[in-house]
Subunit: 197 residues, 2 copies
Amino acid sequence: MNKLTNQDHVIQVAAELFRYRGLSNTAMDDVVKQSGVSKSNIYYHFKSKDDLTLAVLEAYISTLETSFQKLFIESHGSLIEKTKLYTNMLIEELAERGCIGGCPLLSLMVEAGRTNEQVRVRLEIFFEQQVDHFTQLIQQGAEQGEIRNDLPANMLASIFSSWLEGMLMLISIKKNVDSFRKERDTLLKMLQPTSKL
Amino acid sequence: MNKLTNQDHVIQVAAELFRYRGLSNTAMDDVVKQSGVSKSNIYYHFKSKDDLTLAVLEAYISTLETSFQKLFIESHGSLIEKTKLYTNMLIEELAERGCIGGCPLLSLMVEAGRTNEQVRVRLEIFFEQQVDHFTQLIQQGAEQGEIRNDLPANMLASIFSSWLEGMLMLISIKKNVDSFRKERDTLLKMLQPTSKL
DNA sequence: TTTGATTAGGACTAAATAGTACTAATGAAA
DNA sequence: TTTCATTAGTACTATTTAGTCCTAATCAAA
């Protein structure tokens, strides 16, 4: 267990607080208390709450990209199976925190994206890349006959991305993960070639 | 133009402010200024900001239900066509306000749903009903051969609902509506029977 | 006319909160 | 040892903001 720098530790603590309580319900003093790092030191590393928010967003994204890399690129199995593992992971994480907050990225967009343009732009870039990655995977899947090839891969990728975000948010409303698997499996069937049904 | 009561006028003004600036960036004094209604009168009708928020949520829902009724129940045409009109309407409304806020319902969930359980429960009921309505329509569409019948209607309805919400939120990130139609039309094709493709 | 509901005005409170100022200690590297 | 980055502590400011209090007017209905 290599000790984190104060800076990284503050980011981790803030990330957790933002997820649980939301951005606007988390005071800088909460971050001070929860992290044990002095306020002066926090403002030494982050010039404002907006600045800290941006760092937290970067941490969220980094975690997601790592998971994506591990589950989709470095692992073996069919695309459908990989997708199941990836969405399972997201859902389990959400369930662990009582379904609170839905997707941390969208929550940050709602709470900061209006006034903090940097947050919006960073999210825009992330989702653009995510759709690009999905598009590639779907393209490959189509070539191998695992995914239907009668509809444009980038549209299927966009649909999946939108569905995933919406589903995460609706779970935070329902506070219940039960219906998730069936819904996801149905969507995955819709992505497969008709011959496979 | 029958004049609104103060109470309804305040709700309308607050609804617009919440959509544009968000809940936590709208002070009660903003509502006072924008509506021209005195603060004492606002607190005469709404015992707290949470209370006003709940009334605004009710107004959002009421508007949506009216549109749904008009476009899906009282009008003629295929289900696919009706769905296009309904989503067009939502998107045009979002585009009119510069794509800000995405779906007002989800925004309220993020900004109020954590601390105001009434907001969450009301949203839960609304989305449950919405999926029920979509399920019925899809069921009918399936019987008439317009929608595929090899997958459960309620799952298709859930998927559509999740997709719609996610898409609205992602548009608020992209600040751009251009890709919407193609994505929606692709999803609609996925809902149709294979024979129709 | 009387009564009860609605309205404005305006001053005020209490609390929360982002951010600052300043001092002094600590630690690591050169 | 010197130097520079990092850290804690603590008090403080300035602002925002939800909500209250109290008075007095207006208005509609009984």
